[in-house]
Amino acid sequence: MTRRLLPLFLLLLAAGLAPQVLPAFHVTLLNYIGLYSLVALGLVLMTGIAGMTSFGQAAFVGIGAYATAVLTTQYGLSPWLGLLAGLTITLVIATTLGLLTLRLAGHYLPIGTLAWGLALFYLFGNLPGLGGFGGIQNLPDIRILGWDIRNDADFTLVIAVALVVSIWLLDNLLHSRQGRAIRTLKESAGMAEAMGINTARSRLQVFIIAAVLASLSGWLYAHLQRVVNPTPFSVVMGIEYLFMIVLGGVASLWGALLGAALLTLIKQVLQDVLPQVFGHSDNFEMIFFGVLVILVLQYARGGLLPVLRACLPAPRPQPLPTAKAPALPKRPVPPRGAPLLEAEGLVKRFGGLVANKDMSLKVNGGEITALIGPNGAGKSTLFNLLSGVLAPNDGKITFLGQRIDGLSPRAIARLGVSRTFQHVRLLPEMSVLENVALGAHSRGKAGLLRSMLHLERGEEAALLTEATRQIERVGLADYLHTPAGSLPLGQQRIVEIARALCSDPLLVLLDEPAAGLRYGEKQALAQLLEQLRREGLGVLLVEHDMEFVMALSDHIVVMEFGQRLASGTPLEIQENPAVLAAYLGGIE
């Protein structure tokens, strides 16, 4: 707790003391660093952590600034109403832009942000009532409880408070259920959906948070400057915000502060020094920053903060919540042998290729069903149909009597179907515990605000306790805090199983769970699967290890050329002439 709060207190203390000891000019610089940091914080969350690059943040700063400028100077309203209006307008515009542009794949999104960043900038300059490119002058002071926030020193404190509160909220968010969901957005959105996470909503939330922080910064900026004109809200400034986090550290909240400080200070130094060297300074700093960013990205891709951190001792892992957390509610398990999943007549075509042709399959509760077949038989396609990643061209799939074909992976996951992936999809830098806790996402309810305020600690403790329980169950208790990416591949597969179990599934779909495991690990896995069977869960596994499959399964389905070749008990399959022909070659 203190480890997280101490830097924030120090920051606040420094902001209180700085105006007493520093010359006025340095205080002004500090204020700018603070204002830029606010915007950069949102950008770290959005770009560094959630993987959505935005060149348009400056436009949201502009919205915050112009809203208060217009309301206070032209309508004589209080700056607080200006803040409220600014945030409301930001919320509306960010939601609209978010709904429109966040669907954009990969590089289309940053280009989209560039486009609306430019469009908003030209609107600031041209909309009647906004003062054109000359801007709006004479903004009033902010007053709170009889305190006039007028001089730079006052602002230092106000900005520091805004900054500290923002960092606290964002840090809380990142260490919560919603934060884990946000961290999947960058590289593993597909996996996240399979865990029941609504990634589109998470994206929008992150986008709105970043916009609101920018707008807040704009409000403070407008009243600090008392003048608002379009220039500081141009795309060039939007690019500078991005440079800040690239320099400081894209993926860390403190990187935003470091980057904002670096950029502001270097700029200042350059503006002081260059005229003495070259006689003029115009735009030299642009060359400097351009080259600096290129070098940082070439040689220290994570920014400078990770480089500095590497010199410090590694942080201790966060202690587990020790309080006895209430167990999470569990789904009622249907009686053993009752049909869970039934697929009939499934057809999946990719252009001219028929990957699945009239494929049928049944999985019962309390049984292990294995799906085997040579490479290219269509097993993975079938898996994707069952888990909702692909929609079948024909046929139907029911789960507990309910049609699920055509549903999204998220909807299917929420019904109690959980899966692992053939190519392991873990977040390599997150701990095993956090990765597994992702599986429990849909068993929690805490929303964004409760997560930011850490009002959901009870639920969070329950989720983490459940994740710990599942990790212990699969035998990885020693690796709770190890980054998942540092485990050998076989153990990563086991982590995936723990993650799947964490969602309290009725049916688990395991894609080659034994691949890469050693003999002893395979036996442990077999024991685990037998335990799941005893608990009444249904298990469908794709596996190439015949010894493993034959010893474990109740029922085997053999696929070849996208069709069902045979099905039955392991004994029946071993004696089935068609299967023997497919696996061993026909007798001629």
């Binding site: 794949a105 609306w116 469009a119 030209y122 991005l242 030299f284 642009m286």
Partner: protein
């Protein structure tokens, strides 16, 4: 709005559209080979126009020194690599390859009266100065990070653009320039006056587009370049030198940019920082084509040009707003068409 204004606006739009088409083409080209969105494509255009204008004034353009500096830096990098691997024999070759062209250009710039050179030689010299900047840029900036994500490459491109604009201001100053017209004849098509320069621009654009289309669709080398974009490792395994592919793409892009600059120079006043908006409008067009299709990008570039020209007439204050807002529905349509937001590495 009568028909003569209409015709004038259309002609104006088609001419700027042709330039956007060339920019869009270069963007598609570089993107499809290196996955880089070349934000600085517009800077090649301004560098070229401003270089030509400086030559016409009889002065030595700063781009010559920039070329020299970049060549020396790239040469040092490559020599460093050669020394590390103890390939001593490569060094003389590297020196000749990197330094001969800039030295020749410096020599010409110092000893020849540039203003009296025939226009064709001035243009050739401009192309010779600007085109090599492309491959040099690839060597200095992108080669080291060629494997990273599209997003990182985009941020790097923006940084490159910012640096180039700063350098541009140092080299050319803040004043806008126009170059001498290549042809100032005006033809009369019925009642409609048509500038030969405009026709030249449109025709050159169309020819270049056709050539690129044929090159990428129908030659082995073009296909090799495309293969590099799809899968660098795979391309390397089948023997395509991917670094060379990157350099070629950047070289072609810089060449197209230089030609665009020569063409547009007499028609509009260009400033040191005009490249950004040119790039962005080229983008808009390239995006219409999904960053993949040359003909679609070209057609939409003409549309963007015409749209801008009419917006300029009808609502000049909002012309940028109109052009850029238009991108969003297009992007949206593209994303809906290919709805895979899956794992972008």
């Amino acid at each position: 709005m009568d028909t003569s204004i209409l015709a004038f606006l259309a002609q104006d739009g088609l001419t700027t559209g042709a330039i956007y088409a060339l920019v869009a083409l270069a963007l598609v080209l570089v993107f499809s080979v290196t996955r880089t969105i070349l934000v600085c494509q517009g800077d090649f255009v301004t560098y070229s126009a401003l270089t030509l204008a400086t030559l016409q004034l009889g002065l030595v353009p700063g781009t010559v020194w920039l070329l020299m500096g970049c060549s020396i830096a790239a040469c040092l990098l490559d020599c460093g690599c050669a020394l590390k691997h103890r390939h001593w024999r490569q060094i003389p070759g590297l020196l000749v390859r990197y330094l001969s062209l800039p030295l020749v250009l410096c020599g010409v710039a110092s000893y020849v009266d540039l203003a009296t050179l025939p226009a064709a030689l001035q243009i050739i010299m401009t192309l010779a100065i600007v085109t090599p900047l492309g491959p040099l840029l690839y060597r200095l900036v992108y080669q080291r990070v060629a494997e990273t994500s599209v997003l990182l490459l985009l941020i790097i491109s923006v940084a490159v653009h910012i640096a180039l604009v700063g350098i541009s201001l140092q080299m050319f100053g803040a004043e806008g320039v126009r170059t001498h017209a290549l042809a100032d004849t005006v033809l009369m098509l019925g009642d409609l006056p048509v500038g030969v320069q405009s026709l030249l621009v449109i025709a050159s654009a169309l020819v270049l587009i056709g050539l690129l289309y044929a090159f990428f669709g129908h030659t082995l080398y073009g296909k090799a370049l495309r293969a590099t974009a799809l899968n660098r490792n795979g391309a390397q395994l089948v023997g395509i030198p991917t670094q060379l592919a990157g350099k070629s793409a950047f070289g072609l892009a810089a060449f197209i940019g230089a030609v665009s600059g020569v063409l547009i120079g007499p028609l509009t006043t260009l400033y040191y920082d005009s490249g950004f908006l040119i790039s962005l409008k080229g983008f808009v067009a390239a995006i219409f084509g999904g960053l993949a299709s040359y003909p679609l990008a070209a057609v939409s570039a003409f549309l963007v040009g015409v749209l801008e020209s009419f917006a300029n007439y009808g609502a000049s204050a909002y012309k940028e707003v109109i052009v850029f807002t238009l991108v969003i529905p297009v992007l949206l349509w593209l994303s809906l068409k290919n709805p895979h937001i899956e794992e972008q590495h």
